[in-house]
Structures are given as C-alpha cells and as structure tokens.
C-alpha cells in the first residue's frame, strides 16, 4: 500500500468528522472519496495533505508515518475546490510558485512551467490572470500548479464542482488520462456518484465520518455491502412491501427493500412479457424524456418507483395500466444488505 490510513479519528467540538477511518491505496491508482456532504471526505483529504491533524491514528505515505511531517514536506500536490489560484499572479507565476519558493534555478523553472503549460493545453495564456480564464482553464492551471514540484501524490477536493456539465465530462476524461500517464497516485473527493464511477479506479464510500465500503466502481455498484451504499448508488426507490410482488423468497424481518430502475421491466398489456406469471399490474403516473430513454414513474402495490423504457419500444402514456416485473432487489437488515433474485428467473435457469 502506498498510502495508508490507520484508525484515524478527528472531531470538531462534538462533531465526529472521522470515526475510526482506515484504508489503503496502491501506487498509481486514482481513488474517489465519495459520500454525501458532511460525511467527512474532505476532512480525510485535508488530513492526508497535512492541512488538518488527526486526533489519533496514523497516516502512512510510502512506508513513513507522516503525522508529524509538515504539509509542505509530504510531497503532495493539492487542488482546492475553489482552485485557490493566486489572483494577483499570472498563469506562469502561479504554476512556477511551488518551484520558486524552493529556490530552483530560473532556467529549470522555465523549462518545467513551459512543459506543464503545454501539457494542459494553455500555450499562449502564460501572461493571463486567473480572472481572465474560464472555469475549465482555471482548473487546468490549478492542476498544473499542483503538479509542478513533481509530487508523488495528487489530492483534489471536488475538482469538477464548479464547472458546467459539458466541459466537466471532457475534463474528467482528461484528468483520468493525465494522472495515469504521469503515474502519480491520486485521491479526489466528490459527492457525485457518476463522477466517481466514471473517473476512479477505486471508490471509498464515506458516511457519517465512517468508511462504508471500498472497491472498484463496478464492485460497489453491483455488490453493495452496507445499507447506505445500497441506497446511495443509482436512482433508488423503496418498495413499501416487497412480498406483494411475486416470486421472491420471504426473508422474515427486514428494514427496507430497495430497487433501481434497471431492476424493473415495465411492459404494455398487449406486449409480450417473458415472466407474465410473476408480473403485477401497475399504473404509469409520470413520464420523462431522458434523451436516450424514457423514465417512468410507476405506482404499483402502494409503492412508487422509477423504471426505464427504450425509445424504440412502443410508447406508454401517463395513466396507462402496465405489467411490472422486478428482477431483483436489495433487502437491508440493520446495516447488512442481501440481494434477492426473483425466483421466476431462477426456475428458468434451472430448466435450461
């Protein structure tokens, strides 16, 4: 493990920002710290950077305990949420700052800064001030500035929060490629699950100051292990009583039955429904065009949930009676989750 946190605790007054936090990150990986606001993800990032001190526990970077190493000597680049570009310095001076304060010679600084400005594609903008740049350009400058002193670790606090949607997806790809290309270890904080899934190699899910789950994006999405992660990813809905839907095992006592749109198949009455026997009747109460699909809201057995239908499938209308089949659902019991598959599918696989 290149970066390791062991039993980290941190409180602000009576607020517990980190509650026995521990995880490890391999060298060269890009990791997302994902959680709702107030879940303690930024605190973790700031503690790794050395901007905050943990009350107890160890932070290890490259085999060394760095708790008492000042921020400037940890070999870390930090990109602030607001970028924190020096507004009274040009793009060039901003990127050169970290090298200038280290008293490197002018020629080396010039080479490095020129190289970085080319890397971020802002050649010709050297003499501009941050206020004369667009959001995306500022982000790139902040990125270059953090990378200038050749850090081994790059930390990014909500790097895409202040950028409009179209530039954002472009920058996400750019950032991902850049970090892998440079071989630095990156950690970024985000509250946006799509962003975490799209950009990171690994996700660390935080909630109430604790680590809920760590794993690859696919792993966390498909196999949530805690009640929180099962409802955090995707557009989840809750079923009031899953036993009213056909062909699920009875698990006894449970807290919540959670489904995602992709767990549901909605068909028109005259359409062929493969699992007709296990389908139940529902009513479409809302219909929204999503570009690549329609999102339906369905009222069924006193539950309200969303489902999707492709654009090439026969159209449904609001108020239409439809057949609803649920493939699988997450059942939470306390803080544990189990995935429940519809028995209709299981029987079929047995037959084949």
């Amino acid at each position: 493990m290149y970066i390791e946190l062991k039993n980290i605790n941190k409180s602000y007054g009576s607020f517990k920002a980190s509650d026995n936090v521990g995880f490890g990150i391999e060298k060269g990986k890009l990791v997302a710290l994902l959680g709702p606001s107030g879940s303690g993800k930024t605190t973790i990032l700031r503690m790794i950077a050395g901007l905050e001190r943990p009350d107890s526990g160890e932070i290890i970077i490259d085999g060394k305990v760095v708790n008492n190493v000042p921020a400037s000597e940890r070999g870390i680049g930090f990109v602030f949420q607001s970028y924190a570009l020096f507004r009274y310095m040009t793009v060039y001076d901003n990127i050169a700052f970290g090298l200038t304060v280290r008293k490197q010679n002018k020629k080396e600084i010039k080479e490095r800064v020129t190289e970085l400005i080319e890397l971020i594609g802002l050649k010709g903008f050297e003499k501009r001030y941050p206020s004369q740049l667009s959001g995306g350009q500022r982000q790139r400058v902040a990125f270059a500035r953090a990378l200038a002193p050749n850090p081994q670790v790059l930390l990014l606090d909500e790097p895409f929060a202040a950028i409009d949607a179209k530039v954002r997806s472009e920058l996400r790809k750019w950032l991902r490629d850049m970090i892998h290309q440079l071989g630095v270890t990156g950690i970024f904080v985000t509250h946006d699950q799509d962003e975490a899934i799209e950009v990171s190699d690994e996700i660390i899910v935080t909630n109430h100051g604790r680590i809920e789950q760590t794993g690859t994006p696919a792993d966390i999405y498909i196999n949530p292990t805690t009640a929180f992660t099962s409802s955090f990813f995707g557009t989840t809905s809750e079923l009031t009583d899953y036993k009213l839907f056909n062909s699920f095992d009875d698990v006894g006592e449970y807290d919540k039955a959670i489904i995602r749109p992709e767990f549901v198949r909605v068909t028109k009455k005259n359409e062929n429904q493969k699992y007709e026997k296990s389908a139940v009747e529902g009513v479409v109460t809302d219909l929204q065009f999503r570009g690549n699909s329609y999102e339906l809201t369905v009222n069924c057995n006193n539950s309200r949930f969303s489902a999707r239908r492709g654009l090439d499938e026969p159209a449904v209308e609001i108020g239409e009676k439809v057949d609803v089949f649920i493939f699988r659902l997450f059942i939470t019991q306390g803080n544990t989750v189990r995935l429940l598959k519809n028995n209709a599918i299981r029987e079929e696989t047995v037959i084949i």
Binding site: A49, G50, L51, A71, S72, E73, I76, F78, F80, S82, A84, L85, F86, R87, Y88, M89, F97, G98, V101, R102, Y129, S131, R145, P149
Partner: protein, 292 residues
C-alpha cells in the same frame, strides 16, 4: 463626502428619461438636486470660502506672517509628527488585528471586533480623560513614569497616544472585509507548496489588501491631523511645545486673533483637500484594479 455626492448625482442625469418610472417626476428631480446643492453650499462651500476670505482679508503679507509664526510652525510639525507616528503604529497593529480576526478561529473574537470599534463610539474627550487618569498624577503608574523620566500627560507622548487611540479602527476596518472575503485558500495553497509565512504575506496577502490598506492609511492620516478632543485634554496647551494645529487655532481664536486663527485653519484645510485628492486617486485606481 462633498465630492462623492455631486459626482454620483451628475452622471445619471442623462439617463433619467430612460428610467423615468423609477426616478420619479421631473419636478422631484429638480427639487432634490437643488436641495442637495444648496445644502452642500451652505454646509461646506460657504464655510470654506469664509476661511479663505478671512485669512487673506488683511493681505497676503499678513497671512504669510501668521502661518510662519514660530508657534504655528511648531504646531504644524507636531501635528505631522503625531500623524506619521499614529499612521505607522496603526498600520502595524491594524494589520495584525485584521489578520488575526480573519484568519484564525479563537474565543472572544467577536468581543475583539467590537473592541476595535470602541474609539469611534467613545467621545474623544472621554478618551483623553481615560489617559489622564491612567498616566496622570492620580495613577499608581505615575511614580514609575517619573522615575524613568517619561512624561505622557501634558507632553508629546500623550498627544501621540491620544491620536493613536482615536484613529485606531480606521486601518483595520478597511482591511478586515477584504481579508474576510478572500478566505484562507490561497494562503493554504502557498503554504502547502512550502512558502514561508513572510513570503505568503508579501506575495499573496499584501497584493490583495494593498488598496484597502492605502485607503485606510489615508483616512487614518486625515483623522489624525484633525483630532482635537482627546489631544486637547492630554496636551495641557503648553505653547510651542504640546500644541497641535487644531489646538493652535483654538488658542488664537480664544485670544481674539481672528485673522491668524483663520490663516492657521487654512493650512489644515489645504492638508484636508490634499488628502481628499489622494483618496479619490486611490479609490479610482483601486476600483480599476479590482475590475480587472
């Protein structure tokens, strides 16, 4: 204030027709402008003209004699001395206070902010009395001060002390909002890259507060030069020794020397006008820089 008000009324005149609904009728406009101009004339322009007229009533020779009088020159130098020292002290402490308040979280912060404003709310006379009671004959400190032969009350240090006290909030009050709006991100970023505190202050904080600081210094200097109340209590009016320009005006006026009193006033007036011009320039440049 005078220059500011007229400036802001005038450029809008051309656009009144476009926004006629929001600006009221033409009659209202004329009445308001006339009233403002009349008010400014009676309250500001007329007294200024009177000062100049009275100063030169007996001719330029007499005016020159009045302003080059030894006591007056002494008063002018003392005023400048007190002003310069007050500005330096208040710049240093104003920066410290503003820095501490905006960048750190600590107990009693609100109280400190209120305390900084105290000199504005306390009457200068009372401020003067406080120092007389603290450092004067009644005070237990007096014997120590006498031992080291350092007199505060009825001496120059007292005048400087009073000036510093009265002008204390001007600089920190100007810097504080700018520092608070800036936050600590840029400083943190610089510190992370290994910059030392002084480098951070010089390269990141100072460029940011530069114009607010200069503006605060100008205001502080203006207030320091004109300070009368607190200084009057602490001065003891020892002619040629502890008399500042405003006190000199009072003394001359009390002696029924009207012409010299007006002549000395005109020096203060000229200094005020110079500061007003400097202020306008600073404000103009500062605003233009801010827009960039």
């Amino acid at each position: 204030m005078a220059a500011e008000k007229t400036e802001r009324v005038m450029p809008r005149e051309g656009s009144t027709e476009i926004h006629a609904d929001t600006k009221g009728s033409k009659a209202v406009r004329i009445i308001l402008i006339t009233l403002s101009v009349l008010f400014l004339f009676i309250m500001l322009v007329m007294p200024l003209i009177t000062v100049i007229y009275e100063s030169f009533r007996k001719g330029f020779g007499e005016y020159l004699k009045a302003v080059t009088d030894d006591e007056t020159v002494g008063a002018l130098l003392l005023t400048l001395e007190a002003t310069v020292i007050a500005v330096i002290i208040n710049t240093v402490f104003g920066l410290f206070a503003a820095w501490a308040i905006s960048k750190f979280r600590f107990r009693g912060k609100k109280f400190l902010v209120t305390l900084i404003d105290l000199p504005v709310t306390v009457s200068p006379i009372i401020a003067g009395l406080i120092f007389v009671l603290t450092f004067g004959r009644q005070s237990f400190l007096y014997s120590y001060l006498e031992e080291i032969d350092f007199m505060i009350v009825y001496a120059v240090p007292g005048i400087i002390l009073a000036t510093v006290f009265v002008t204390f909030p001007f600089i920190s009050r100007e810097i504080l909002p700018v520092l608070e709006a800036q936050g600590t991100d840029e400083e943190e970023a610089a510190a992370l890259m290994g910059a030392r505190s002084f480098t951070i202050f010089r390269k990141i904080t100072l460029p940011h507060i530069k114009w607010a600081l200069i503006y605060g210094i100008v205001l502080c200097a203006a207030r320091a030069m004109g300070e009368f109340g607190a200084v009057s209590v602490l001065s003891g009016h020892l002619r040629g020794k502890t008399v500042t320009l405003p006190l000199q005006v009072e003394i001359l006026f009390g002696d029924n020397k009207y012409m010299p009193a007006f002549a000395v006033s005109s020096i203060l007036m000229i200094m005020a006008v110079v500061i007003l011009i400097v202020r306008s320039i600073v404000e103009f440049i500062g605003r233009r820089k801010g827009e960039e």
